[in-house]
């Protein structure tokens, strides 16, 4: 039980995927102008990361490892992820057209969101069991959604402030993300078990 709690707290706060591990920066900067689309993106990424981890973990354990084909890992994983994203795109377009419009080009780009491939490879490297892998995947996605949501809130405020012309937009957002990352570093003192 303690392992699971430790995985969850570490993935969400201590080793946050965006702010400490630098994965998933593109959507983090791209879709974080409004809090509601940031949450939509967070939900979509959660789905893809969890499904992708489930499928890739099984493929790694039952196909690649027994056959000694570990070198195919990268190619196989990215294909699984691309297929999942395609599926998600069809589903969202059908059931939530408004969200589909809001996410725009960033929805197909989840394929090239390094967080998805990153988590799939990390759980294999860390040697997690299936249960631990899925816990890690869900917790990481929550960490991603949390960081996006806080950051979107900050950017909504930033949009109203007057800043030097050359700092407008991405540069200021990056400095803001840096300060947010500094705040998250405060969690690194937490120890479990």
């Amino acid at each position: 039980m303690l392992t699971y709690i430790s995985i969850i707290v570490t993935a969400i706060f201590i080793n946050n995927i965006v702010l400490a591990q630098f994965l998933g920066i593109c959507p983090f900067l791209g879709v974080s102008k409004r809090t509601d689309s940031a949450l939509g993106m967070g939900a979509a990424v959660t789905f893809v990361i969890t499904m992708a981890t489930l499928v890739t973990w099984c493929l790694q354990t039952y196909v690649l490892d027994p056959l000694g084909l570990q070198f195919l890992q990268t190619i196989l994983f990215i294909l699984v992820i691309a297929a999942l994203v395609q599926m998600l795109e069809i589903i969202i377009r059908k059931i939530a057209p408004a969200l589909y419009m809001a996410l725009g080009v960033f929805l197909p780009l989840i394929t090239t969101n390094c967080a998805v491939l990153g988590v799939a490879i990390l759980v294999v490297q860390k040697g997690f069991t299936l249960g631990e892998s899925l816990t890690y995947a869900v917790a990481t996605s929550i960490g991603f959604a949390l960081a996006m949501w806080i950051f979107a809130g900050i950017r909504e405020q930033l949009a109203l402030t007057s800043v030097p012309r050359h700092m407008k937009g991405v540069p200021l957002a990056l400095v803001g993300a840096g300060i947010l990352a500094m705040a998250f570093m405060g969690f690194s003192g937490i120890k479990i078990g």
Binding site: L19, A20, Q21, F22, L23, G24, I25, C26, L29, F71, L72, Q73, T74, I75, I78, L79, A82, L109, T111, T112, N113, C114, V116, L117, G118, I121, L122, Q125, P164, R165, H166, M167, V170, P171, L172, A173, L174, V175, A177, G178, I179, A181, M182, M185
Partner: protein, 194 residues
Amino acid sequence: MKKKLKIVWDGILPSNPVLVLLLGMCATLGTTSSALNGLMMGVSTLLVLICSNSVVSMIKSLVPDKVRIPVFIVVIATFVTLLQLAISAWAPALNESLGLFIPLIVVNCILLGRAEAFASRRPVLDSALDGLGCGIGFTLALTLLGAARELLGAGSLFGIRIYPDDYAMLLFVLAPGAFIALGYMIALVNRLKH
């Protein structure tokens, strides 16, 4: 000749993938804790980019339009796997320091972006040159950012001590420093553009 040079030059400065187009941010932030790491990551990506651009350009007329993205990704993933095997065989120390970011070259937006926007509609030589230009631009940005972070955060440059590390701001080697340094670097480029 002048045209070919322009293709290379375009990727280096006028449309630098990191500083102007803002692509490939994950690798940019994640691997630039020192100038050497940034340089190595840049060169690794440069190699994959030239190979993938050339091959995509060679097979462009054979690939049906609807499945082109998955095909491009497989081409890129193949070269990344080759690079991964080569690095773990010949430079295990590099494998250690770049870690997860080597396989993650696959999902670097620059590679798919160049394949889709340039290589899928241009001849092979032009595509290879475009890969070279963008790769150099990427390497340049990463090395600069790595150098700035190493200098501010550790007081050294490419491992050579410039000033005592008692005066260095450790923050710049850690995660927050990456965001802040890149933010100011892009602001500086914005300033120079105008």
